[in-house]
Amino acid sequence: MTKRKLTTFFFILGLIALVALLPLFVKDVYYIHILTNLCLHSVFAVSLWPILAMGELAISHGAFIAIGAYASSVMVMRLGMSSWLASLMSAVAGFLIALIIGYPSLRVKGAYFFLLTFAFTMTVVLSFSYLFKPIFGGAEGIANVPPFSSLVIAGRSVEFSGKIENFYVALLLMLFTVGIVYSLYHSRFGRALAAIRMSDLLAEHIGVDVRNYKVFNFAICSALAATAGSFFAHYHGHVSPTAFPPTLGIKILFYVIVGGGSYISGAILGVVVLDILEETFREFGQYEVLASSLFVLIIMLFMPHGLLGGLRMLKSQIFKLLRVKVAG
């Protein structure tokens, strides 16, 4: 490992440790809740990132979160499954549904694929509202979803009803997602996705199985989103169609695009900035959406490569200034 890589490695390790130790200092439950949401939204954003990395936009992520949440709730409440197993099964459900949806709809690309994912999202949300009311609970949804069942860790029984325990679950889920997405993208598979983004025609003619790579990538991302949805259900204890509006997918797209699409860390940065903004503007009530949307608009106009791209440019500008000063 080079020195630079080692520094980055320890920086990231330190950052994780810092976040993991935060609950020791922060006693206010409100802040723990915000931190948990940050982790959860990071999972949303990071798991959407590879779809953007292959050059497609998908709004269906919100729908897969809903699918994961509903699948997990139904399995626990109606079938009496263990919540941990239900989480795993909801990921499998998300994966399979994404395969079924992705295989036909990834024949088209760009705006057409985006519209297809939108149609799918509407179908999912409306299905949960109007179909199989005894199972999905109609517009009311499913109330009183139990938290994750207790586990025995290091000889001690740990309950998952409190905020702090759930924060750690969310943090682990986030690290797991980042790990999977990072290693996927830095493999042959990831290079194939990059080739597809740059030119799918050429990718096909240098031997990349474009269709299958795209479908598989879509399915993996959607499965991760479904896992996050399952956590959402057990954490909030209540799922309903209104918790997963069609705009949820757009919000997740905003996270990734505001943060900067070229790097995974950009997605997390986007989540942190937009969520903190949302919390600060909360007192404005209905104008909060207006304020965050304006912010997104400004970022997209003045920093086409997102916040991370903007920061990098700023850094190089400052270095240039310094160099001029030193030289002068």
């Binding site: 493999s187 042959r188 025609l201 050429l202 096909e204 003619h205 240098i206 790579y213 598989f216």
Partner: protein, 255 residues
């Protein structure tokens, strides 16, 4: 020996018949020139052979196997590669990376979902292969330049290098000489002959540059309005009355 057999290929775009029952063979080790006026269906035919398009009817046999329904990446692994008329490459990567990408994906190495490299040795293998290809096509000095910043001729050569990275048996070159000066045409044609001789690659060449085609191809096929109007050695073809009519129009009595 027959390498590729085009059997009654027909392609309709709506009501327009771009190809009408085209049939010809390509023998192993040939440089076959495919010529014809604009809009005669040359590029459509190349697209069908490499499966950027599906034919309306007809069959394509490669090494006596029916490949009409196989997807492009499988055809590539079987040994058919192509270049594009409009130069096509990954513009934000260097010339070397472009060819290395080609080397990496053309071989059947599985998906390797999580591992950084299939094996480090395999990766270095790809890299040395890419360098060797760049040397072969004369791009070694431009290896670290961004593909988008190369000169027109270098971009055309890069396309050939990418197409060669899969070790093809048959290369479909779609106007590799367009926009080149006479001297560049000369050197590129020499390169194409060298590919045929050294790498034992059969070449299907689509070109408008008559001089280069006539003096370098073993056999010519002339398309006009989606039909083969002449076939044979260059000397036979250029004196063929059908070909002259296709290019210059037919004689009419004026008096």
């Amino acid at each position: 020996m027959m390498l590729l057999k085009i059997d009654k290929i027909t392609k309709h775009f709506g009501g327009l018949a771009a190809l009408k029952g085209v049939r010809f063979d390509i023998g192993e080790g040939e440089i076959l020139g495919l010529i014809g006026p604009n809009g005669s269906g040359k590029t459509t035919l190349i697209n069908i052979i490499s499966n950027a398009l599906r034919p309306t009817a007809g069959k394509i046999l490669f090494e006596e196997r029916d490949i009409t329904k196989l997807p492009a990446h499988i055809r590539l692994r079987m040994g058919i590669s192509r270049t594009f008329q409009h130069t096509l490459f990954f513009g934000s990567l260097s010339a070397f990376e472009n060819v290395a990408f080609g080397c990496e994906f053309s071989l059947e190495q599985g998906w390797n979902l999580f591992r950084r490299f299939s094996t480090r040795k395999g990766m270095q293998n790809n890299w040395s292969k890419a360098v060797e290809l760049l040397r072969f096509t004369g791009l070694l000095e431009a290896k670290d330049k961004l593909a988008a910043s190369l000169s027109h001729k270098e971009q055309k050569l890069l396309n050939i290098a990418i197409a060669m990275s899969s070790r093809p048996k048959l290369m479909l070159l779609d106007e590799p000489l367009s926009g080149m000066s006479p001297a560049e045409v000369q050197s590129t044609m020499e390169l194409i002959k060298k590919i045929r001789d050294d790498k034992e690659v059969t070449i299907l060449l689509v070109e408008h540059n008559m001089k280069a085609v006539v003096s370098n191809c073993d056999k010519l096929i002339v398309l006009n309005y989606g039909e083969v109007v002449a076939e044979g050695s260059p000397q036979e073809v250029v004196t063929n009355i059908n070909v002259i009519e296709a290019y210059l129009g037919s004689e009419t009595e004026l008096s």
